[in-house]
C-alpha cells in the first residue's frame, strides 16, 4: 500500500506540472514574506533587549557619603529586588560627565565656583525591573532609601521602550496574520481548484472501487511534498537574501537601532519554517480529498 501511495503521489506531482509549480511558488512566497517579517522582528527584538540592558535608574543622594560609607550603602541597594547592578557616582565624576555632555559648552563647568552636582547611584534593573510596572515598583523602593534625595531617569525611558515594543508587536501581528491567512487561503484555493479539475478523475476512481486511502493519501503526500519544497525554497531565498542584504543593512542598523549584526533564523526557527510549509501543503492536500467539489 505504501508503495502504491508514494507512486501515485509522485506521478500526480509530475503530471500536475504548472499547477504544482504554482502551488510550490505560492507557498514559497508566503513563507518568504513570513520569514522576512520573522527575521526582522527577531532582530528588532534583539535591539529592544539591548536597549533594555541600557536602562538606568539614577538615585540622587542627599549628601555625598564618605568613602567608608559607600560599600555598605551599595550593598543595601544591590540587595533590593529587581536590581541587577549598581554603580556609585561621586560628585567629581558627575561633574566630569556633565562636561562631556556639554561638549562645546564645557567651559561653563570650569567657571563654577563649587561643584553643584549631587552624588548618585546608577542602578541597572533586571529584565523584570525594566518593565513599566517593575520599574515603577523599583523606583518606589529606591526612593524609600533614607539616603535618597530624588530618583530619576529610567521610568519614562522604560515606558517609551514598552510603547515601541507594543507598536512593533501590533503592526507585526497585523501583517503576520494577514500573510498567514493569505498563505493558507492560497494553498487551500489552489488545491480546491486542482481537486475540481480532477473531480471527474476521483469520481471514476471511486466508481471502480478504489478505497478512500488510495485516493486521499497520495493527495495528502503530494501536498506535503509541495509544502516542504516550497519551504526549502523559501529558506534558500531567505538565506540568499540575508547574505546579500546584510552588508547593506548592517551599517544602517547599527546607526539606527544600535544592533550591528543582522542575525539569520536560528536552526529551530528553520525547522519551524519547514514544518509550517509541510503542514500547509498537507492541509491543502487533505482538503483536496474531493468529496464535494465546487458549485
Amino acid at each position: 500500500m505504501l508503495g502504491f501511495v508514494v507512486g501515485e503521489a509522485l506521478r500526480d506531482l509530475r503530471r500536475a506540472g504548472r499547477v504544482a509549480v504554482s502551488a510550490v511558488v505560492l507557498i514559497t512566497l508566503s513563507l518568504v514574506a513570513l520569514g522576512v517579517f520573522w527575521v526582522l522582528s527577531f532582530n528588532l527584538g534583539r535591539a529592544v533587549a539591548e536597549w533594555r540592558d541600557r536602562v538606568r535608574i539614577i538615585v540622587y543622594l542627599k549628601r555625598e557619603p564618605s568613602p567608608a560609607e559607600v560599600p555598605a550603602l551599595m550593598q543595601r541597594v544591590r540587595a533590593l529586588p529587581d536590581v541587577a547592578g549598581a554603580r556609585y557616582v561621586a560628585k567629581a565624576e558627575a561633574l566630569a560627565s556633565l562636561k562631556r555632555v556639554l561638549g562645546k559648552d564645557a567651559g561653563v563647568a570650569d567657571q563654577l565656583p563649587s561643584n553643584p552636582l549631587p552624588a548618585s547611584i546608577e542602578v541597572t534593573p533586571t529584565a523584570a525591573g525594566a518593565t513599566p510596572d517593575g520599574a515603577g515598583a523599583l523606583i518606589q523602593r529606591l526612593a524609600a532609601l533614607p539616603e535618597a534625595d530624588e530618583v530619576a531617569g529610567g521610568a519614562e525611558w522604560v515606558e517609551r521602550l514598552s510603547h515601541w515594543q507594543r507598536l512593533l508587536a501590533t503592526i507585526g501581528l497585523g501583517i503576520g496574520a494577514t500573510l498567514a491567512l493569505a498563505a493558507i487561503l492560497t494553498v487551500t484555493t489552489s488545491t480546491t481548484l486542482v481537486l475540481h479539475a480532477r473531480r471527474h478523475e476521483t469520481e471514476i476512481m471511486r466508481l471502480v472501487g478504489a478505497p478512500e486511502a488510495a485516493i486521499r493519501l497520495p493527495l495528502l503526500l503530494q501536498g506535503l511534498v509541495q509544502g516542504l519544497l516550497g519551504a526549502l525554497l523559501a529558506l534558500l531565498a531567505l538565506a540568499v537574501g540575508h547574505h546579500l542584504a546584510a552588508p547593506w543593512l548592517e551599517p544602517l542598523m547599527s546607526l539606527t537601532i544600535g544592533v550591528p549584526r543582522l542575525e539569520f533564523l536560528t536552526p529551530p526557527g528553520m525547522v519551524t519554517l519547514l514544518a509550517a510549509g509541510a503542514g500547509l501543503g498537507a492541509f491543502g492536500g487533505w482538503l483536496a480529498r474531493g468529496r464535494r467539489g465546487l458549485a
Binding site: 500500500m1 478523475e201 471514476i204 476512481m205 466508481l207 471502480v208 478504489a210
Partner: protein, 223 residues
C-alpha cells in the same frame, strides 16, 4: 445474486421530477446472462447505476452479491464495487492515464503483485485487440477503442459480476461480434453478466433472458 424489489428512481431537475424507473422488480441467479433492453431514455443506465450504487433508489430494496446496497457504509460500497466489473456507457477512462495505466490501476488498488499486473493487463488488452494502443491516452483513442479499453478494464479483475452498458454501441458489426464473444467466454467461466443494449436485433441474436424497459417500467422479462 441480484434482487430488486419494487425499485423506483426519480431524478430531480430543479423543480421538475424525472421518473427514470418505476416499480421495477426482478431476480437474477448466479451464473445467469441477462440482456437489458429498451429505447433511448428508457432507464437502462439508471438501473445499472443502482446496482453498483452510483445512485440510490428513491424507493425499494436492492441486493447485489448478497449485500443490501442501499444500506452499505461508504467503505463497504467500495469493497462491493471491487467485485463488480463495469463497462460504462461513456467508458469513463481516467483521462490522465494511458490505456495500460487505466487497466493496471484497478489491479493495483486491490493489491495485485506488480509482475502479475503487467501480465494480466496485457492479456486483457490483447483480448479486446488494443495491445498496440497501450501507451495512448484516452483522448487519443477513437470512441470504439475507448469502449474496448473500458471492457478490458472491466474484465481484468475477473470479478463474479460483469455489468456492461452498451459495450458495442460504438463498434462496427465485426468488432461487436468479437466483443460479444469475449463476454460470452467470461460468462462461461462462471461470471454473472448483465448487458444493456438499445439494439433490439442484438438482444434477439444473443438468445438469452431479456428484460425490456419502456419509460422506466419493466414491460417484458422472458427467454
Amino acid at each position: 445474486m441480484i434482487e430488486l424489489h419494487r425499485v423506483s428512481k426519480v431524478y430531480e431537475v430543479g423543480p421538475v421530477k424525472v421518473p427514470a424507473l418505476t416499480d421495477v422488480s426482478f431476480h437474477l441467479g448466479k451464473g445467469e446472462f441477462v440482456v437489458l433492453t429498451g429505447p433511448s431514455g428508457a432507464g437502462k443506465t439508471s438501473l445499472l447505476r443502482l446496482l453498483y450504487r452510483e445512485e440510490l433508489p428513491t424507493e425499494g430494496d436492492i441486493e447485489v452479491l448478497g449485500q443490501p446496497v442501499t444500506e452499505l457504509s461508504r467503505a463497504k460500497v467500495q469493497t462491493l464495487r471491487r467485485s463488480i466489473g463495469v463497462v460504462f456507457q461513456d467508458a469513463k477512462l481516467l483521462p490522465g492515464r494511458t490505456v495500460y495505466e487505466n487497466i493496471a490501476f484497478v489491479l493495483r488498488v486491490t493489491g495485485t503483485a506488480r509482475r502479475e499486473i503487467t501480465a494480466r493487463a496485457f492479456d486483457a488488452l490483447r483480448a479486446v485487440g488494443l495491445s498496440s494502443r497501450a501507451q495512448a491516452y484516452p483522448a487519443q483513442l477513437s470512441l470504439g477503442e475507448a469502449q474496448r479499453a473500458a471492457l478490458a478494464r472491466a474484465i481484468v479483475r475477473q470479478q463474479p459480476l460483469l455489468i456492461a452498458d452498451e459495450p458495442t454501441g460504438n463498434l462496427d458489426d465485426a468488432m461487436a461480434a468479437e466483443v460479444l464473444a469475449i463476454i460470452k467466454d467470461i460468462w462461461t467461466s462462471g461470471t454473472t453478466v448483465i448487458l444493456a443494449t438499445h439494439q433490439a436485433r442484438l438482444a434477439r441474436t444473443l438468445r438469452r433472458r431479456t428484460l425490456m424497459l419502456e419509460a422506466g417500467r419493466l414491460v417484458k422479462d422472458e427467454g
